[in-house]
Structures are given as structure tokens and as C-alpha cells.
Amino acid sequence: MEETQVGRSVARVDALEKATGQAQYLDDVVQPGMLYARLLRSKCARAKIIRVDASLARALPGVKAVITAEDLPDTRYGPVIKDTPVLARDEVRYIGEPLAAVAAIDDETARRALGFILVDYQELPPILDVEEAIKPDATLVHEHGDKYLCVFPARKTGNVCSQTTFTTGDVNQGFAEADYVFEDFFSTQEVYQAALEPHGAVARRDGNGKVTVWTTTQSVFGVQATIAESLLIPTSMIRVIGTRVGGAFGGKVEAIVEPVCVALARATGRPVKLVLTLQEEMSATRPRHPARIDIKTGVKKDGTLVARNVRILLDTGAYADNGPGIAAYAAMCACGPYRIPNIFAESNCVLTNKTPSGAYRGFGGPQVTFASESQLDMIADKLGVDRLEIRLKNALENGDTNVFGQTLSSVGIKECIRRVGEAVGWGKTRSSPYRGVGIACMHQISGVMNACANVRLNQDGTITLQAAASELGQGCDTILCQIVGEELGVPMECVNIVTTDTDAAPYNWATCASRTTYTMGAAAKLAASEAKKQIFQLAAATLEASPADLVSAGGAVFVKGSPEKKLSFFDLGLVTHFVTGKPITGSSAVMIAEPGNAPGCVEGFPFPPLTAWVFGAQAVEVEVDPRTGNVRVLRAVAAHDVGKAINPRNVEGQIEGGFVQGVGYALYEEIVREKGAVVNRTFADYRSPTAMDVPLITPIIVEETDPTGPFGAKGVGEPGTVPTAAAIANAICDAVGVRIKDLPISSARVAKGVKNKA
């Protein structure tokens, strides 16, 4: 049957409340008797805590509780390596690490109380550089790191808390067969998600001791688990409610403020709100891992890639957080969407005494892609091969194997490359000597881990979908309603979506990794089809047909070919509640476990199998001012293979938004540190792109259907930001012949490069 809802750019289900200021974000949550919390943060990058004296702060009028690690169980949490205390105990490991928390009658009192908490530090020399950290005699950021619980057998050495390696073929053999070998070093800077809404939580303990936590999060079940394991509370006593999220991009996937907020609520017996300031957002949340990348590539003179050796150092800061996964993912992306028969990719997650780095759109992909796609242009130029042609020549196709030894299908990279080449006018002469065009490609996965959904037929035949995917702005609430509406044959306006509440929706791992359309979409579609089976069983008797002959469309169930004899969903809702007395619920649990990895292809990989590969290509035209080095991005085209666009306008929005974050990454954004402290903690000093920095962007949707995805769909949340920096670097080189191998590509760097060439 023809699809009527999937594939349409329907208006978002959350747009009206957001356009009218009615949407409820975390800071809009108010509870009677609520207190306000602030965190005391370490001034030292590395120190022993000799003494914390909170007696003066506790005595301040209006202060209801001051807690330190002494008031909490001695636990450590973390998504992969359990190394993080709720509040620093005995030792601080980065400037900004929280070591005490205050709850007071208003924010002003809480802030004043911080100044009355006395801390004696014994300062120690910090490690602020990954090259220092990996030296064999380097001091350990975590002296007892080998004792931490780890969810997988991480390969650790000193301050490298996890190492992942991918091996395909034989790189030495490959380099021996190559006509040319290129060796280059690239580096990328510290940036952060810069969501407009800060992290925050409100925690309240009820009369029975159960805790409710409102929070702005990408994973209500992740927050629930972290509170449970860090404060030693059973999950049955923790309810997590996710409020509307004002931007996340990976920064809200881990529980940063919730455990301490719950501890304060329990200590005071009153609801407590904790919202971070912008200064805290910029210096004490989870920035993108800065990277140092050595990349060695062997090619034949006709441009065929034969070997690649990559070594990546990722600065994970003082705690591992999602670093091990990001390191693994970076190694996975290092070969690009190309056929390379011999690969050795080694990625190291390195501890230093700085803010813990964490998940941010692309998860290691943007760093490594900047290196690999920049080098590919350098290779093409050296060989005299066209930069677009070299990519087409080596691009993966259906039937090729990837670094996991999996056979790929649904590979849309060539279509993406062709479409951007055409759209940008590849090969045409530039209208000015200082204009240039650059292209870059990417690939990643969009299906991982598990998701559950329930679909209920309500009393009046409308539908309730319980699916704990977090609406971060990407539009998942809408597309899940589209999917369920399509599967059941009811208008999506009849679908009530219940999402981020651990009491009201079944388990979902997290909203991240571009996984929601593919993984949660599959769970929602499966739950809907389970409900439909039960509905057809029920309807079959009344319609005097076999369930196999029934279809549902337009809000009714009827025999194929005889739509006039039907049972409406309204009738069915009434019957199930008041006649048979057995309301219908369809349930599903989806876990991505296939296809497995080939033996020996990867070591130290912290995820179960990944799938649903997506591909993309971007081309940009820039104009460079040769005197100032200023780069203006004039035009951009971005083609992304998403399998099937459930909501094309939403997909465009993800591509456009991802691209502009990529522009910031390439040209403007950098967290600047002096002696380990962040010095640019306002939006005046941290240059997130404005409407004046942004070019005309043409998003191109490529649909290389994946039959395992819901209606053929795959994900698109991250890809838009992955190849952008490389495309811009390549365009700048095309314009003025200057190759910048370190991000950000500041105007100073470009101007210097132009001057040196002259």
C-alpha cells in the first residue's frame, strides 16, 4: 500500500508549544518549597584535598544543607570505566571538579555560601598535555585506575585508559606495494556543544522515600542507573522525567548534575533545583575530545588506496566518561567510506588533568575525518588525480566489507559524491582568484544497542505510543508518530506519544549516536505491528474474514478490496475496553546484535555490534581575504544518504544544523586554556556561528533504502557535522594554496600561510 504519512514533511508535533513559549524546559519546573543549589568547584588542576570545612557555610541564614563526599557513599560511576565520584573525594583532578554542594532558599544565598566553604588543597603538578601523559614515566591521573570496574576488557597502559585497534589485511605489505606513501600529522581543538540551555535538574523526595528527578537529558534510563549506582538507591525508588531539551548534541547523554541534586534533596527533605551557569557549561561539562592524529596512507599512482595506518591520541581529560567509545569510533571512521585492503588504526583515550571530555555530535568522527579527508586532497594533488574522482574511484559499494568484516548493503556514498559535485559545479572555473571549492566525505553507523516500545489502543480508538526517546530538537517525537500512524493505518494526529519518563515508558538505552530513527523507529514499528496483529484477530470475527485478508488504513480495518465493510478504530477501542474487556497493547524490544564482527578485526571495542551505515558528502565554496586570512563560506551543498527520509524537512534541518556546527568547528570555535583553566567563558569570547556567518546551504537527501530499517530509514543526527571542517580546509587550499592541518583554521593561520607562500 502506498505510504501516506511516512515520507511527508508534516508539521512537528512539538512546534506549537515551542512557538508560543509553552514548552516546559527544566528551568521552568518549579516545586513548592523548592531550594536552589550551587556547586563548589576545584581551583586546582591536581591536588590532594586535605580538609573541607563547611561549618561557616552551614551556619549562614538561608542555607539548608552543605554536602561533601563525606556525606555520600564511596562509589564511582561512569558509562564505561567506573572512575567518577559524585563529589571529589580525597583528590581533585581538574579545575572545575565539584567537591561540595549547597542548597539554600534562593540562588543568591547558595552562591554566597560557596565563599564560606574553606578548602585546604595540597597542590600537585598537573598533566595538561597528552604527549606528557603518555610518557612511560608520567604520573598517573588515576593512581588506582587498574582497580576501577570496567564494563568491557579495556586495554590500559598508564594514562591510556583504553586503546582500540582495527586490523584489516597487512599494512606493511600494503605500504610495500604502494607507489607513494603519505605521512601527515593533524590536530583538532577543544570545543563544546554550546547548547543554549544549560544542564540542570530538579529533585524531590516524596513521603514514601521515592525520588522524582526532572532533568534535561538524552537518556532518562541512563540518569536513573547513574543515580542508582552512585547513591546506592534501587531504581524502583527513582523516577526520572525528561523535560523538553534546549539542545544537547551529546552533552546531555551522561548524568552530570542529577546525582548531587538528588543527594541534596534527600539531605534537606525539600525539592532542590540545580542549574549550571554558562561559565560552568563552558568549563565543567563534557567538551569534544581534542585529537592528535598521525595518518599514513599508501596509494597506487592511479589513486587507488592500498594501505592506511592511523594513530590517534584523544585527550579525555580527568575521567574516562565516553572516551573509550569515542576513541573506538574514531578508529572505526579513520578509513573513511573507501575500500582500503590493508588497515591498522590505533586509537588511544588519554587521561589528563582537565575537564572530562565527552560525547559530542560525531563522537570522534569529525576529528579523524578532518585528517583523512584533508590528506586525501593532498594525495590527489600530488598524483595529479581529480579530488572528486579519487573519492569516486575508492568509494565503497554494496557488497564491500567494512572494518568489522561485515558485508555492506545500502551504500549511498557514490550517489552523495555525484550529487554534491553536480550541485556545486565541480570543475567549473572560479569567478575570482581567492575563491575555492572543497569536498569531503564521511561514513558512520546509525543503529546500536536496544530500545523498547509499547503501542496501546485507547478507549476511543486513538493510540498511545510509549517510547522513551528524548526530543532534543531533532524531531523524533514527530517521526515516531508518523511511523506508528503509518503502520497502524491511523492519522498520526491520533497518536499520543509518551516519552521520557522511566515510570511511563519502557526502556530505551539513550537518544544519541544517530540511532533513534533506525533503532527506536524499529521498536515503535514492531510494537505497532504487534498491536495490529491483535486488532486483526479481533476484527476478523466481526468482518467474517481471516486476519491475513485484513488491512488497516484511514483509521479503520477492512477486508482487502472491500473498504465499505469496516470496523473503525473507535469501534475497536470501545469493544476491547467494554465488550471483550481485554484492551490491546503491542510491545517490542529491539536489540542490535547483528551482523557480528569478524574475528580478529578489532581489539578493545566497547560496544556490541553496530549497524545501519550512513554516508555523506559535502562541498563548500569559500572566499579568502589574502591579507587578513578571513574565510567566508559562500555556499554549501551537503548530500546525505539516510535510507528513507521519514520527514524530509526534519532531515534537512539536521543536515543544515550539523553543517553550521561544523563551520564553527572549522573556523571559529575553541576553548582556550591557560595552565589548565578555561579563560573564554562567554559567548562573546567563544564564537558560535551567528546568522551572519552562515552561507546558503543546499541539503540533498539521498535515499539508499535499508530494508532492515523502519520503512527503509537510517539515521542522520550526527553526519551533517562530520566532514565539514575537511571540506572547508580543502576549499581554502583550493582558493589560496594554503594547507592548514590544525583546527580551528583561524584567519591568523590563513594569513600567515598566504604570506609564507608569497
Partner: protein
């Protein structure tokens, strides 16, 4: 020592006792309970807290509540008329200009204040007018398209 002031917000008058150092943003959200205006950077750099005061777009985190005493203030809650959305709100919804929605109230009000005084701008002028409103989700593409569609519709109607 609190001061008694009157804030005229969206056509209604709110008498409220404020500390002299409270910002208009503090008072709108906390004392009056109009939470549509968002707190972003709290330092005048992101525009999420934009409201309209006496016809001008203003960062409400940068003005004191006492300064706003007696002035005509419009917040996002005051934009929709009786059962009808403002054309900017409709355009933002139709064009997909809303993702996370956190910048949306400020962005719409900044656009409204600008268009009220400049009904026929170029795209470049629109981009300049909203340069003080950061958005991390949309890349501004559909935001600019939404604002331009309102300009074009108004021009067609001969306004």
C-alpha cells in the same frame, strides 16, 4: 529592601516587589511566572532572553526590572491574538524553523521588533537583525526562510 513596581506585560499590569538588582528576566520568569522567555547565557550574548520593550528588542537579562517599570513589555506569550498565531509563529512552524525551541521565543521577538520597523528588508538585513540571537540547532537556514516568507506574504498583501 524591595521596591514596589508595576510591570505592563502583554497588556496586563503586574504589581510586584523587587530587589533593585533583579533583572527583568528574573522577574518575568520567577515572580510573574511567564517562563516563555528563556535564560541562556545570562550575560547579553545569546539573545534567548529577548523581549520587546516600548517597541525595541531588548536582552531582558541585561536590564533591571526597576528600569522596566511602567514600560510596555511584550513577551512570547503575548504574541498570539485570540486563538490566532502571529504570522511569524505560523511561518516558524510551517517552515521547520523550530528544532529544540530554546532560541525560538527570543528569535521570533527579535524578528518581530525588526519587521515592525522594517517591513521590506533584504535577506542580508534580516540576518543582521537576528545576529544577536544564537541558534545551535537549525543553522539559521529555515529561520531566515521563515522570516522572509512573512516579508513576502505581507508584500503580496500590499501592506
Amino acid at each position: 529592601m524591595k521596591l514596589n513596581i508595576e510591570l505592563r506585560v502583554n497588556g496586563e499590569t503586574y504589581p510586584v516587589a523587587v530587589e533593585p538588582y533583579w533583572t527583568l528576566l528574573d522577574v518575568l520568569r520567577r515572580e510573574i511566572g511567564l517562563t516563555g522567555t528563556k535564560r541562556g547565557c545570562d550575560g547579553g550574548d545569546c539573545g534567548a532572553c529577548t523581549v520587546i520593550v516600548d517597541g525595541k528588542a531588548v536582552d531582558s537579562c541585561l536590564v533591571l526590572a526597576v528600569w522596566a517599570n511602567g514600560k510596555a513589555i511584550t513577551t512570547i506569550e503575548g504574541l498570539a491574538g485570540d486563538h490566532r498565531l502571529h504570522p511569524l509563529q505560523e511561518a516558524f512552524i510551517e517552515q521547520g524553523a523550530i528544532q529544540c525551541g530554546y532560541c525560538t521565543p527570543g528569535m521570533i521577538l527579535a524578528a518581530k521588533a525588526f519587521l515592525d520597523g522594517n517591513p521590506n528588508p533584504t535577506e542580508e538585513e534580516v540576518r543582521r537583525a537576528i545576529a544577536g540571537n544564537l541558534c545551535r540547532c537549525t543553522g539559521y537556514v529555515k529561520i531566515v526562510q521563515a522570516i522572509m516568507s512573512v516579508v513576502e506574504t505581507a508584500a503580496r498583501k500590499g501592506n
